[in-house]
């Protein structure tokens, strides 16, 4: 009954969406306020109905209602509660339902907090947002209905792929989707702006916090996925340049560019035409990500059972939304009013450089990801584009970006002084050179480029701190006064500095672990000892163990350093009951200098086992960097001046229906 209610709510949401697409946009066209006002209640109702639908599916998962085909295929009665819940989005149908739910959530946010937006803009935004939801609801209802019943009812479910039964992966999809779908806001605003032929600082003031929120979610989502791959897949790697990873990375890169160009538009009303294009492209890349992941056209190590037929539908959605948007852009963008002037060396110029490099980098990732598809379509050759390609294209583009990064915030708007900025960055530069020298002198092996990569990371971190100190005018004051001034800096300044420092920390982690990772593959008998990165690891044998829904063999290892015991590691090989599938759990010891990482391989006979050992220096900094970037975003988002829904200082041209409270 509850399941049918969910199904019914889904159909109703589709109908409401249809109304929300047509009436507000029509009203905006003919200037009829009553029609435009339909948008808000429709958006809220749509959200309510989708919450009901999602709740119904979640309920079916929690009570293990195996009469629902989707629950049967992806759940099992012995599964722990948290994985029964995460199983809702651990499959295609449920994840699409989550997708439209988040889409509706963003739409409802415009309806609820958008009272300070111009009426027609709000109506058009809600219409566009609903049209995206409409397409995906149709997709769900026609090809991926999660509420299909089974008759007769099976006794038990088939279970969730055990590799997905993991805390990091339980929350990876919601964050990732919040990021992907969050960019739909930028898209809807871009389309609405193009329809009206007018965008201004108020437009950017709205788009920026939403883009920032989406970007934060995507950052955490990607980092979680990477962290999961690191400890769950047992390869000791954190990024594989796999198509599925690239599918999430491209919107992130474009979204990062959008975030920065929206700043220029908000502060200086420049780069309008470009920002709109970037908003369209960012969401287009999100849609393409959904297509690549869901259709399975590309060979990926992360791919789960996929269905090419559904891919065609998503391809259709993609063509309509990308093609339509770009056509509208080509038609309307020339009519947008030009914004403020700026010299090439200026804050704006720095942000343009950021945009050029980031979008070009996105382009290289796009080419690398799609080239196999294109080549196969042309001459039937099947190829794969792996890490060497990305190291040769993407990485060289990041070097100038990171070199230029600390300069950006130190340049003035309109016309900047690069020499003054260089002076302020003197200490950061010296620290970076010092770091390179120290690494060069004390670390023996590794590629010669590695010290420079470390220096680049130090440069970015020190540059971010320099910016804060410069803004607090730390040069001409004593300790307490500097602290007071630091405390008075706006949060968005902290946001920028923290996020940039996060980038630098991540760069240090990436450089260190790529350059100095040690790996050993060996067969060990009980009592045997192996040396890695200064640790002595002794294999004690294996022991069987029973978990809630799996059986495992645990490899017992002790780790010591210089004769004293450091820790014990217990990597295991698990065999899950439902579905019957094997997984490896790595044993990881986290130290300040890096991770000691052990994987138990196959039984080599005579009590000996294959063992794979890694030492990954500073690898944690990669995810810590991502978290710091997230925190930076949160700081910026909490700034009073950009708070979501906060009244804009500049009043919209048409008076808003409710008077904005004084700031």
């Amino acid at each position: 009954m509850i399941v049918e209610l969910g199904h019914f709510a889904l159909v109703l949401a589709f109908l409401i969406c249809l109304v929300q697409v047509i009436l507000p946009a029509w009203g905006a066209q003919i200037g009829e306020a009553r029609l435009m006002r339909v948008g808000e209640p429709a958006a809220l109702l749509q959200l309510g109905l989708l919450i009901v639908a999602f709740g119904a599916l979640t309920h079916a998962y929690i009570v293990s209602d195996f009469s629902v085909s989707n629950v049967w295929a992806n759940s099992h009665s012995t599964k722990p509660l948290i994985y029964r819940i995460s199983g809702v989005w651990g499959n295609h149908e449920g994840s699409m339902l989550l997708w439209v739910l988040i889409l509706a959530l963003f739409g409802a946010a415009v309806a609820a907090f958008g009272s300070n937006l111009p009426t027609t803009l709000r109506a058009n935004v809600l219409s566009v947002q609903a049209s995206i939801a409409l397409a995906f609801l149709l997709f769900i209802l026609l090809t991926s209905n999660p509420f299909t019943r089974l008759d007769p009812v099976p006794l038990d479910g088939r279970g969730l792929n055990p590799i997905l039964q993991d805390p990091a992966l339980a929350f990876h999809p919601p964050f990732l989707y919040a990021g992907y779908v969050g960019f739909s806001m930028a898209y809807s605003f871009a389309i609405a702006g193009l329809i009206e032929g007018r965008t201004d600082a108020a437009w950017a003031r709205w788009v920026r916090p939403w883009t920032l929120a989406a970007w934060m979610c995507l950052t955490v989502g990607i980092a979680m996925g990477s962290w999961w791959a690191y400890y769950e897949l047992g390869w000791g790697g954190w990024w594989f340049w796999d198509p599925v990873e690239n599918a999430s990375f491209m919107p992130w890169l474009a979204g990062t560019a959008l975030l920065h160009s929206a700043v220029v538009m908000e502060k200086r009303e420049a780069l309008k035409v470009w920002t709109i294009l970037l908003a369209i492209l960012t969401f287009s890349l999100s849609l393409m990500g959904a297509f690549l992941v869901r259709s399975g056209v590309l060979s990926s190590v992360h791919a789960f059972a996929v269905d090419p037929q559904r891919g065609v539908f998503i391809l259709g959605i993609m063509s309509v939304f990308i093609g339509g948007a770009l056509t509208l852009y080509a038609w309307r963008a020339p009519s947008l009013r030009q914004g403020g002037l700026f010299a090439p060396i200026s804050r704006e110029g720095g942000l343009v450089l950021n945009n050029v490099l980031l979008t070009t980098a996105t382009g290289t990732v796009l080419v690398g990801t799609l080239y196999p598809l294109a080549l196969e379509a042309i001459n039937g050759a099947k190829i794969s584009v792996g890490p060497p390609y990305f190291n040769a294209t993407f990485v060289p583009l990041m070097v100038p970006l990171l070199l230029a990064l600390p300069f950006g915030p130190l340049l003035a708007w309109k016309r900047g002084d690069v020499y003054a900025a260089l002076q302020r960055l003197m200490i950061a530069g010296l620290l970076a050179i010092g770091a390179a020298v120290v690494v060069f002198a004390f670390v023996e092996r590794g590629p010669w480029l590695a010290p420079f990569a470390i220096a680049l990371g130090v440069w970015v971190v020190a540059g971010a701190i320099s910016e804060l100190l410069f803004r607090a005018r730390a040069g001409n004051a004593q300790g307490a006064e500097v602290l007071r001034r630091l405390g008075n800096l706006p949060r968005s300044v902290y946001g920028t500095a923290i996020a940039h420092a996060g980038v630098g920390i991540m760069v240090i982690g990436i450089a260190a672990t790529s350059a100095w990772q040690s790996e050993k593959i060996l067969t060990m008998r009980p009592g045997q000892t192996a040396q890695i990165a200064g640790y002595e690891l002794t294999f004690k044998g294996v022991a069987p163990n029973d978990g809630p829904n799996y059986r495992e063999i645990i490899g017992l290892m002790t780790v010591s350093r210089g004769g004293s015991l450091v820790t014990e590691l217990a990597p295991s090989k698990r065999q899950y009951n439902a579905p019957p599938q094997a997984t490896s759990e790595a044993g990881i010891y986290v130290a300040l200098a890096g991770d000691l990482y052990a994987v138990l391989g196959d039984d080599a006979g005579d009590g000996a086992w294959a063992v794979r050992l890694y030492f990954n220096p500073l690898v944690r900094l990669i995810w810590i960097g991502a978290v710091i970037m997230f925190i930076g975003g949160a700081f910026s988002l909490s700034d009073r001046r950009l708070r979501v829904g906060a009244p804009s200082r500049r009043r919209p041209r048409r008076p808003a229906p409710t008077p904005a409270p004084a700031e």
Binding site: T360, V385, I521, D602
Partner: protein, 160 residues
């Protein structure tokens, strides 16, 4: 500086970056792409020894042999031809006889493929598209049905 000149500098700069990127991409695409082949292709297309390729197909039933230490030897088949693969390392969890597999490495003398990577998958029912296509062309596999020599009868009977 006029508006036109400023814009000229910006566009010129952007084009420079783009040109560098295009150059990098073209160079990288020439040097670092890896072609996928099935065992039959190796003979038909005459793949030279030492060229880095991906070899995919099904793991031949009964072919997995463990050697010294972490050395493993198995055969990849597309049912027409078979190639012996040698690999040193820990095999992915879902590596199994009768299942689809993709390996990356170089062909050595005596038609032995020395793999340095055996690609793991996350899902029992997943078949890499290249392998799926190669097998489909031979009429051996269709979507949604486990490969012919699958060792897990549960998935065969339960898949709709």
């Amino acid at each position: 500086m006029t508006r036109r000149r400023r814009r000229g500098i910006l566009i010129g700069g952007a084009l420079c970056v783009l040109a560098v990127a295009v150059g990098l991409v073209l160079m990288a695409l020439r040097d670092s792409i890896v072609f996928f082949h099935t065992p039959s292709d190796l003979t038909a297309k005459g793949i030279p020894e030492g060229q880095r390729i991906r070899l995919g197909g099904l793991v031949a039933t009964g072919s997995v042999k463990r050697g010294q230490g972490a050395d493993v030897e198995f055969a990849i088949t597309d049912t027409a031809e078979q190639v012996t693969v040698r690999y040193r390392g820990v095999l992915p969890d879902l590596f199994r006889e009768g299942q689809g597999v993709v390996t990356e490495g170089k062909l050595e003398a005596g038609r032995v493929f020395r793999a340095d990577t055996v690609l793991a998958k996350h899902d029992e029912n997943y078949m890499p598209p290249e392998v799926a296509k190669a097998l489909k062309e031979k009429g051996l596999w269709q979507h949604g049905v486990p490969p012919p020599a699958a060792t897990t009868p549960q998935t065969a009977s339960e898949k709709k």
